[in-house]
Each structure stands twice: as structure tokens, then as C-alpha cells.
């Protein structure tokens, strides 16, 4: 990833934040609309949770050598 790509993504994120606090300031259809940048938080935490849970399941339960069923 080049620097300008990170900057572009950062600007995009800023735009979503600005929209959230201006256009969507009064939007309220779910309880989490009160949490600022909820979807960013949920996205990031979900991502980490999925990686760690998947890793945990893989290492402790389901990971085997490819010839496991042939032995």
C-alpha cells in the first residue's frame, strides 16, 4: 500500500464521519445510532473477533494435515 492510497482511504473515512454528524445527526432507527461511528467500531471489532475466533477454532479444534482422512 502506497501512502497516497492510505490518505485516500483516510479522506473517505472522514467524509463518512462528516456525513454521519451532519446529514444523519437526527437519524434514529436503531439503538446503536446513538453511538458515534458505530459502524466503524462494529466493523473493526467484528473483523478482529472473526480473525481471533477463526484462529482459535483452527488451532485448537479443526486444523489437520491434508492427508488426515487417508491415513
Amino acid at each position: 500500500m502506497k501512502n497516497w492510497q492510505w490518505i485516500a482511504l483516510g479522506i473517505l473515512f472522514l467524509i463518512t464521519l462528516i456525513l454521519e454528524f451532519t446529514v444523519l445527526a437526527d437519524y434514529d432507527s436503531h439503538w446503536w445510532n446513538a453511538v458515534p461511528a458505530f459502524y466503524a467500531l462494529w466493523g473493526f471489532l467484528s473483523c478482529l473477533a472473526i480473525i481471533y475466533v477463526a484462529k482459535f477454532i483452527s488451532n485448537n479444534l479443526v486444523k489437520r494435515d491434508p492427508d488426515y482422512y487417508d491415513r
Binding site: 500500500m1 482511504l9 473517505l12 473515512f13 463518512t16 456525513l19 454521519e20 446529514v23 444523519l24 437519524y27 432507527s29 436503531h30 439503538w31 461511528a37 459502524y39 466503524a40 467500531l41 462494529w42 466493523g43 473493526f44 467484528s46 473483523c47 478482529l48 473477533a49 472473526i50 480473525i51 475466533v53 477463526a54 484462529k55 477454532i57 483452527s58 479444534l61 479443526v62 486444523k63 489437520r64 494435515d65 491434508p66 488426515y68 482422512y69
Partner: protein
């Protein structure tokens, strides 16, 4: 009557499979394409309420029945058969071509079936024909996987048949109807039979077992038909069964977890089908008009981008001979177009704006929220994060990036593969830009508007932060040479043990009996090759029947024998 019968869209494709062997080999792949096109024309031409009926053994069969829902699935099934047919244009394998046509035809048949018997016939045809697409790979792995796949589907078909018969016995009707929540045992049996094809966990294991081992082109067909025809039946017969909401949400998360664990392109995509079908099943469970619309639209979109992604993975397999992430990486210069086309599918499936996943996934997820089921909604959003992470970031990153370059030898792709992927990618973007072209075909009228600021903010924040998370922890996701166990462990691991008891032990028993009988026969024939040995105890013992036959001795011996027997009778 005959004309009506042979213009049933599913029948057109199945008749095509009968005609295909008569066509010269060079023209076969091109002629193949005529049948999906013809089916597509008929699908668009038949109005709502159109019916073809027949009767068999006193049962009224409805061979074809058209409404908005069946038309929607008919369109996408026929279109996918055409696209996959173009993708497979370079194939010269009659068996696969016939299997693919029958498979596509029976999937379309299911969507138009108006009674359960017709549906069951197509259902079983689908199982058999798709099995051949696995076996046609002709490797020991695909032989085993194909057999497990077939057994699983025969079991599912059997449970479905049991449910249908029970339903017929209790209600006297075989018309396809809508069952209310846990209406009868028959309905539950039918649900289990359909759930096997819909890959509802824990009945999903046939899918990630068989799809990665199917042929390159076979997997494209398979990704479209079996699970989505089951989704169609769920939509028609089981809308609003609350249980399905939770099974669906669980499937959506289960599928992405395994998609993150697995290290093989087609395995990741296969597990991801489970996740995507989870979205649809959840929508069916919610059961509001909006949710059912969302499920149907999502099935439609999903078939397009998932077949595109399977085509991309198939292209990599064709060009490099492997789909293991550990062997790939750095292909970005050598397979640039495949990457770009795959990424269209990946962005679509991740529901990014302006791609077709956005217009259907948002609808399903929103429907959960509008129905007041915020837990299910958050679960689906979490599964959406996993989607982007596994097939939108991990898979392409470790296939095309990760290394600057690669020394893998890359075979050039047949041009028809690019055309097929191009059409699918075009449709993904087209529907993403003009959602109403899809919405007008949905089963319920809708004025749903996907392009809102709220959706834009939601999906962009989720995608950006998922990307950030992936970038930070990407080292954890790299390729390894492993397989991941699943529920199929419960029958694959004990299989050798049961084989010993029920196959080998029986075999051995028969062997022992056979050997005993044989030994007895040898003894007897040894005794009788020279009866003189025991008829004339005073003669020579070394008679050999092959070199010397004592005819007179034998005759005399029999005369003596008869005299003795008669004497015995006279005396007593």
C-alpha cells in the same frame, strides 16, 4: 399438449442433453448454448398464471406454473446456464456437457414445479447430474467426494419423498403450498429434505467437501443451482418459519469463520456459499414482504457474483494447476484481467455501493431491522464483515499480491473464459447501478431505495475498518498446507471402522463359506474321478481316470451293486 410440454424451460434443457450426443464434437459446445437461450426466451415469454398440467397414476400434476417468484429464479438459472456454458465452451467432454444441461434444466424445473412430485423428480435429477460434475474430474479425491455428495443427496431426497408422501396421505394433495410454522410432521420432513440442499448447518458438509473437488467448469454450475433452488423452495413453502432466522444467521457467521480458516481458493468460496445462503435463509425466516424480497433478490445477485468468483478461481486453477493459497501469490502481473474480474465479484459480494451485492444484501439486513430483530441484523452485519475479510481481502491478497512476483508457470486462458467472466462482471455492475431492473421482477412490489446516505456511511465505515483490521493482522491469515475438519468428521472418520464391520467382515464371511464349499467340491470330485477306488476294493489303487478308464470293471461293479440292492429288497 406436446408443444406445451417441450417448451417447459427445464424440459428444453433436458431435451438438449438428449440431442447433444448426436451433434458433431466440434459444434457441441456452441449448440449447448442454444438451449439456455431458448429457455431464457420462454421464461420471459410466459405470463403470470400460465400452467401446464398432466396426470400420472391418478395424481394431478402441475408441470409448470408461473408467478413472479418462479420467473425470477427461472431467469437467473437460465442466464447462469448460458454464462457457465460460455465459460465451458473449450471443454470437449460430452459427459460433463450432458450432466451440466440436465443439472441446469432440473434446477429450472424445480422453480416451475407446481406439485411436489414433479419437484421431487427434478430434485433427484439435480443430485445425480451434479454428482457427475464432481466425478468428471477423475481424481481419487473427487471419486470419494462425489460418492459422499451423492449419498448425502439421496438421503435428502428420501427424506423429502417421505415428507411428500406423508403430506399426501394426510391432506390428499400434492400441490406445492405454503406451510405455516411447524404445521405438521410432513412439513418438517420436507423442510429437512430441502435444508440439506440449502446447506443449512449442520447439514451443509457435502458442499465444502464436493465443490472444491469438482471440475473447473462443473464448480461454476454447482455454485449456482443446488443451494439456490433449495432457497427457492424455502421461499415458496416455508416463509416466516422463525427457526430459519436463527439457522440462517448462524450459517452466515459459521460460513465466514470457515472461509477465514480455509486455505484453498475454491474451499473458501464453497464455505462462503454457506454464509451467503445464510443471509437468504434468515430473510425467509423473518418472512415479511421486504425480507422475502431481499432473500429473492440476494439469491439472484449471489448467483451472478458467486459464479463469477468461481470462474475466477477456476481460471487460476486452469492457468497454474493449483488453488492452494500457500502456492500462489504475486500473480497480479501474470493474471491481471482475471484479478480485475474477480474483484468485481468480490466487491459485489461484500456489498460495496454500485455493485449488485449492495442492492440485495442491504435489503435483507434492513428487513431484519424493520421486523424488529436487531440481534439478527447485527449478526448479519458481522457476517458481512467476514465476507469482505475472507473473499474480498484474504483470498485475492494471497492469490494476486503478497509477493512482488512469482515463478509459477501460467498457462494462457481460453478466450471464452474471459468472455463469460466479463458478462457476469458486467451484470454485477449493471444491477448495482440500476437496481430497479431487478426490483421489478421481485415477488412483491417494492419502492425500496438502496442508495441513501445512511447506507453509504454504514457500508463505507464497515469496509474501511475491516480493511484496516485485515491489514494489521494479515500475517495471521496466510496460506498453510492444512485442511479444516467439519461435521463430516462424524461420518468420514468412523467410515473405515464401519467399513470393517459391515463390508469387510461380511466379505470375509462369504469368503470363508465360498472356500469351504469349494474345498468340499474338490474333495468330492477327487473321489469321483475314479469310482473304482471304492467300487472295487480289490483292484489297483493307482487308477488315473485321464489315462486309463476301466469300462468293464465299472459295468460289472454296477451290476454287482444292483444285484446286492435287489437282493436286499427281496430278503426284507
Amino acid at each position: 399438449m406436446i408443444a406445451e410440454f417441450i417448451t417447459i424451460p427445464g424440459i428444453i434443457l433436458i431435451l438438449g442433453a438428449l440431442v447433444l450426443p448426436l451433434i458433431p464434437e466440434k459444434l457441441r459446445s456452441s449448440v449447448f448454448l442454444i438451449f439456455p437461450i431458448a429457455a431464457l426466451v420462454v421464461v420471459f415469454g410466459r405470463p403470470d398464471g400460465y400452467e401446464v398440467t398432466g396426470s400420472l397414476a391418478g395424481l394431478e400434476l402441475v408441470l409448470m406454473q408461473v408467478d413472479a417468484l418462479s420467473r425470477l429464479f427461472g431467469i437467473i438459472f437460465a442466464a447462469t446456464a448460458l454464462i457457465a456454458g460460455i465459460y465451458a465452451w473449450h471443454i470437449r467432454d460430452l459427459g460433463q456437457q450432458i450432466a451440466a444441461l440436465v443439472y441446469a434444466g432440473s434446477a429450472i424445473g424445480v422453480t416451475y414445479a407446481g406439485d411436489f412430485f414433479t419437484l421431487l423428480v427434478y430434485w433427484e435429477l439435480m443430485a445425480i447430474s451434479s454428482t457427475w460434475l464432481v466425478w468428471a474430474r477423475r481424481t481419487p479425491e473427487s471419486d470419494g467426494a462425489g460418492m459422499r455428495y451423492l449419498i448425502f443427496h439421496v438421503l435428502g431426497g428420501g427424506i423429502l419423498l417421505a415428507g411428500i408422501l406423508w403430506h399426501l396421505a394426510t391432506t390428499g394433495s400434492i400441490a406445492v403450498t405454503t406451510f405455516s410454522d411447524f404445521e405438521s410432521t410432513a412439513a418438517v420432513l420436507i423442510l429437512i429434505g430441502v435444508a440439506i440442499n440449502a446447506a443449512v448447518i449442520p447439514l451443509h458438509v457435502w458442499l465444502p467437501d464436493a465443490y472444491p473437488k469438482a471440475t473447473i467448469t462443473g464448480a461454476v454450475f454447482m455454485s449456482a443451482f443446488t443451494t439456490k433452488s433449495a432457497v427457492y423452495v424455502l421461499l415458496r413453502v416455508f416463509p416466516g418459519w422463525e427457526l430459519l432466522t436463527w439457522f440462517g444467521a448462524a450459517m452466515a457467521i459459521y460460513g465466514v469463520l470457515y472461509a477465514v480458516i480455509c486455505k484453498d481458493m475454491r474451499e473458501i468460496l464453497a464455505y462462503h456459499i454457506v454464509s451467503q445462503v445464510g443471509f437468504m435463509v434468515a430473510g425467509i425466516g423473518i418472512g415479511t414482504e421486504m425480507a422475502l424480497n431481499g432473500s429473492a433478490a440476494h439469491a439472484y445477485s449471489h448467483i451472478l457474483y458467486k459464479s463469477l468468483m468461481f470462474m475466477g478461481a477456476g481460471a487460476v486453477l486452469y492457468a497454474t494447476g493449483t488453488t492452494k493459497l500457500v502456492d500462489l501469490g504475486g500473480l497480479k502481473n501474470k493474471m491481471r484481467w482475471t484479478m480485475i474480474l474477480y474483484m468485481v465479484g468480490a466487491f459485489s459480494i461484500s456489498g460495496l455501493p454500485l455493485f449488485n451485492g449492495f442492492i440485495s444484501k442491504a435489503m435483507t439486513v434492513d428487513a431484519a431491522g424493520y421486523a424488529g430483530n436487531e440481534t439478527a441484523m447485527l449478526m448479519l452485519i458481522l457476517a458481512g464483515v467476514g465476507t469482505f475479510l475472507s473473499v474480498g481481502l484474504k483470498l485475492p491478497y494471497f492469490t494476486w499480491f503478497d509477493k512482488e512476483d512469482t515463478d509459477i508457470e501460467v498457462k494462457p486462458l481460453p478466450f471464452n473464459m474471459y468472455i463469460a467472466m466479463g458478462i457476469a462482471a458486467f451484470l454485477c455492475i449493471f444491477y448495482g447501478l440500476f437496481p430497479n431492473t431487478l426490483y421489478i421482477y421481485l415477488p412483491f412490489e417494492t419502492d425500496y431505495q438502496p442508495f441513501t446516505v445512511y447506507h453509504f456511511v454504514e457500508i463505507t465505515q464497515i469496509a474501511l475498518l475491516t480493511f484496516a483490521g485485515f491489514w494489521l493482522y494479515r500475517k495471521k491469515l496466510g496460506g498453510e498446507r492444512i485442511i479444516a475438519l467439519d461435521f463430516d468428521w462424524f461420518y468420514r472418520k468412523p467410515a473405515p471402522f464401519f467399513r470393517r464391520i459391515f463390508v469387510n467382515a461380511i466379505d470375509n464371511l462369504f469368503d470363508i463359506i465360498q472356500i469351504t464349499v469349494h474345498a468340499f467340491a474338490i474333495r468330492i470330485s477327487g473321489q469321483f474321478d475314479n469310482p473304482m477306488k471304492w467300487l472295487n476294493p480289490f483292484g489297483r489303487k493307482d487308477h488315473n481316470a485321464q489315462t486309463y478308464s476301466p469300462p468293464m470293471d465299472v459295468v460289472m461293479a454296477f451290476v454287482l451293486f444292483v444285484v446286492i440292492v435287489l437282493g436286499v429288497f427281496l430278503i426284507f
